[in-house]
Amino acid sequence: MGIYKRLTISQKQIVWAWGLLAIPIVFYVVVRFYPTANAILLSFQEWNLLGARNWAGLDNYAKLFSDPTFWKVFGNTFLYLILGTPASLLVAFVIAFHLDKVRFMHGTIRALYFLPFMTSAVAMAWVWRWFYQPVPIGVFNNTLATFGIPQIPFLNSTTYALPSILAPAIWAGLGFQVIIFMAGLRAIPQTYYEAARIDGVSAWETLTEITLPLLKPTIVFLVVFSSIGFLRIFDHVFNMTSNDPGGPLNSTKPLVLMIYETAFDSFDMGYAAAQTVVLFAVLLVVSLLQLRVMRDR
C-alpha cells in the first residue's frame, strides 16, 4: 500500500489504466491466445482426448493433404464463399438502394428485412429443411406436385443441396447487410447528387460514378465480414443435413463441419487441430487479400 501512496497522480492514472485493461487482456490471453497456441501445438500431436498427447510431427498435415475428402470439403468451403458473398451483397445493395427511397412504412419494411437476422439459425435451418422435403411434407415439392411438375430433390442431390443450404444462409444475413448499406448510403453528402442533377447526369452514371465509389468503405467491410461468415458456415449445414452430415456424398460439407466430425465423432484431436490451423490460415489470407485489393491507393 505504501508504494501506491507515493505515486504521482499521473502514475496512479497509469496504474489504474493498466489495472482496468488487464481484465480484457487476461481474458483474451486465457480464452483466445492460449487455446489458439495450444491448437497449433496439438496439430503436430496425436491425441484421442483420453490418453497422452504424442508427437506426430507433420503426420496430421500429410494425412490432410492426401485426403480426397479434405479437398472436396475445401472446394465446398470456397463455393459457399464464391456464391454466397457476391449474391448476398448484390441482393442487399439492391434492397438497400430502393428501400432508401421508400418513405411509405419505411420502418416496418426495414424491420421485416432485419427480422431473419435476429432469428436463431438452428430454428431457421430446420424450417427450411422441412420446406425442402419431398412429397408429402415439403411445401415446395407439394406445390410443384399440385401443378404436376416433377419434384426437385433439393437436399437429396449432389447438385442442388449446396445452393439449397446457401439460400437461407444468405437470407439470414441479409438484414444486417441492408442496414449497413443504408447507413453507408445515408452518409453520402446530398450535395454530390444535387450537383449531378444540375449537370444532367443519368441515373446509371450517378450510381456508378458517385454512389458506388463513395460506398467503398462499406463494401470492403461487408465483403470481409460476409466472406469470413461463409468460410465458417456450419449451423445451417449441420442442421439441414443432420441425417447425413455434410451430405449427400460430402457435397455440402464445409471445413468447419469436417473439423467438428474429426474432433467429436472420431476423437482424432490432432487431425482436427491441423484442419483448424488450415482454416485459420485460409481466413487470414483471404481477409488480408481482400483488404489489400479493395483498399484505396
Binding site: 482426448l49 483420453l50 406436385a145 437429396n156 449432389t158 441425417n243 467429436f264 476423437f267
Partner: protein, 417 residues
C-alpha cells in the same frame, strides 16, 4: 497484496471445509449418464433402492444431453473429475481401458466364469485378459415394427416371416399419389438409422457371409454374400420402389406419422412410439432368410468404475455396480425404459419372452451379434455413401460395395495401427 493473499487463503479453506463435510459421515459416489427421461427415472428408482439397502452410501446422479455426453465424460475423467461410476457406450470402452481410466471389476465379486454363465454371450466383449472391465444393465436389439392399421387396410394377416415375404408385403403397403410420388412407403429405408446394422450383422450373414473377420478388424463383406445383401437392400428402393431415402425426413418420423408400413428399429424406440396417439403398431422378429437363418444386432451401454474411485469410494462403487447388474435392477430397467435385461435369467422369464412388444426383441438377443466399431459414425457413413452413390451417381452395386469396403477398412486400419 497481503490482503488478497489472506482473502484467497480464507476462501480456499472455506471451500475445502465445505467439500469435506459432504464425505465425512457417509460415502458419496457420483454416477453419470446421458439424459433420456426414462433412463433417468429408472436410475432414480435404482439409487433409491440401493440407498435403502446401504444407508452409509449416497449416490449422486448427474446427467447431460446426449449430444455433449461423450465429450464431457472424455474431458472429465482424465482430469480426475467427474464420476466414480460411469455409463459408457460399449464401443467407447477400448479407448478408456487403453488410457487406464476404467478399473477392472474385482474378480471376487464379479467372477468371470459366473458372468459368462449368467449374461448374454455378447457381453464377453467387455473382458480384458481375465477380468471384466464393465457390465451392462440392459441391452438392445432390433426388430420389425409394423403399422397394424395399414396392414388391415391392405388385407395382410401378419408381419412377414422371411425376406421374400417382406418384399411382397412392402409392395402391398406402398401407396402413390396421382403424380406417381410415394405417399406411403412399404418399409422405411436409410443407412443413417438402424439399417446399417441390419445390413452388416443381419443381411450379410443371412446371405451366407461373415461381415468382418479378425475380431472386427478386417472388412469381409465385399463378397458374393455382401453383393446379394446389397442387392436385396437396394432393390427395395431402386427396383421395387417400395421406399425412398429421405422420405418424411427420417425413417422413424415416417413410421410415427403412419406413413410407413414397416420399419426396422431398436428396442429403444418403444418408449417414443408408445407416446404417439392413434398409431396402432406391432413388433415382430426380423424376417429370416429363405433357408431360415436368423440374425440380429445388439448394442448396449455399460457401467464401469473409473480410476477416480479409490478406498471407501471404490468399495461403494463395487457395491453399486453389483446392484445395477442384478436381476432386480434389470427388471426395473425393462419396466421403466423398455431396454432388455442383459441376463437370460431376467430376460427369458415367461412373462418377458412372450410379451407382445418385448418378446420379439428378447428372442432376437438369443442370436444377436455385436459389431465392435472403431468409429461408428465413420463406419456408418461408409455404408450411407455406398447407397447414396448408387442413387445419385448411378454407380453399380459391385463398385459401390467395393468402395465402401475399402473405405471402411481404411478407418479400421487407421484406428488399430
Amino acid at each position: 497484496m497481503t490482503h488478497l493473499k489472506k482473502w484467497m487463503l480464507g476462501a480456499t479453506t472455506a471451500a475445502c471445509a465445505l467439500f469435506a463435510t459432504g464425505s465425512a459421515q457417509a460415502v458419496e459416489i457420483e454416477y453419470w449418464q446421458y439424459f433420456f427421461e426414462p433412463r433417468v427415472k429408472a436410475m432414480e428408482t435404482l439409487i433409491e433402492n440401493f440407498e435403502k439397502a446401504n444407508p452409509d452410501i449416497t449416490v449422486k446422479m448427474t446427467h447431460f444431453p446426449y449430444a455433449d455426453y461423450r465429450t464431457k465424460v472424455a474431458a472429465a475423467i482424465p482430469a480426475g473429475q467427474g464420476p466414480d461410476v460411469v455409463q459408457l457406450f460399449y464401443g467407447w470402452l477400448n479407448d478408456y481401458v487403453n488410457a487406464q481410466l476404467i478399473q477392472p471389476l474385482p474378480a471376487d465379486v464379479f467372477p468371470p466364469a459366473e458372468i459368462e454363465a449368467e449374461f448374454f454371450p455378447m457381453v464377453q466383449a467387455m473382458k480384458r485378459r481375465d477380468q471384466y472391465m464393465a457390465l451392462p444393465t440392459a441391452v438392445r436389439s432390433l426388430a420389425l415394427f409394423y403399422n397394424k392399421r395399414l396392414f388391415d387396410k391392405a388385407g395382410i394377416d401378419g408381419p412377414p416371416k422371411t425376406l421374400d415375404e417382406l418384399v411382397e408385403t412392402a409392395k402391398k403397403l406402398t401407396q402413390k399419389d396421382g403424380a406417381g410420388n410415394l405417399s406411403t412407403v412399404g418399409i422405411t429405408t436409410g443407412m443413417n438409422a438402424q439399417d446399417h446394422h441390419w445390413f452388416r450383422e443381419v443381411l450379410v450373414r443371412q446371405f451366407g457371409g461373415d461381415p468382418y473377420t479378425d475380431n472386427y478388424r478386417t472388412v469381409n463383406y465385399n463378397t458374393d454374400a455382401g453383393k446379394a445383401a446389397l442387392k436385396f437392400y437396394s432393390d427395395l428402393e431402386f427396383t421395387h420402389n417400395v421406399t425412398a431415402a429421405g422420405f418424411m425426413d427420417e425413417p422413424q418420423a415416417a413410421f410415427k406419422a403412419g406413413r410407413a408400413g414397416m420399419h426396422i428399429d431398436g428396442s429403444f424406440r418403444i418408449g417414443a412410439l408408445n407416446k404417439v396417439r392413434g398409431l396402432k403398431w406391432g413388433v415382430a422378429e426380423l424376417p429370416a432368410a429363405a433357408d431360415g437363418t436368423q440374425s440380429n444386432y445388439s448394442s448396449y451401454w455399460v457401467n464401469g468404475i473409473t480410476s477416480k474411485a479409490t478406498d471407501e469410494k471404490y468399495d461403494a462403487a463395487v457395491k453399486f455396480m453389483k446392484y445395477v447388474t442384478s436381476d432386480e435392477a434389470m427388471q426395473v430397467w425393462l419396466d421403466t425404459v423398455g431396454e432388455l435385461p442383459a441376463k437370460p435369467s431376467a430376460a427369458m422369464t415367461e412373462a418377458n419372452a412372450e410379451h407382445e412388444v418385448y418378446g420379439p426383441f428378447i428372442k432376437g438377443l438369443g442370436y444377436a451379434k455385436t459389431t465392435i466399431f472403431a468409429n461408428e459414425s465413420g463406419q456408418r457413413q461408409a455404408l450411407m455413401n455406398m447407397v447414396a452413390r448408387m442413387r445419385l451417381e448411378d454407380q453399380s452395386a459391385e463398385d459401390s460395395l467395393a468402395q465402401a469396403a475399402s473405405g471402411e477398412q481404411k478407418i479400421l486400419d487407421d484406428y488399430y495401427n
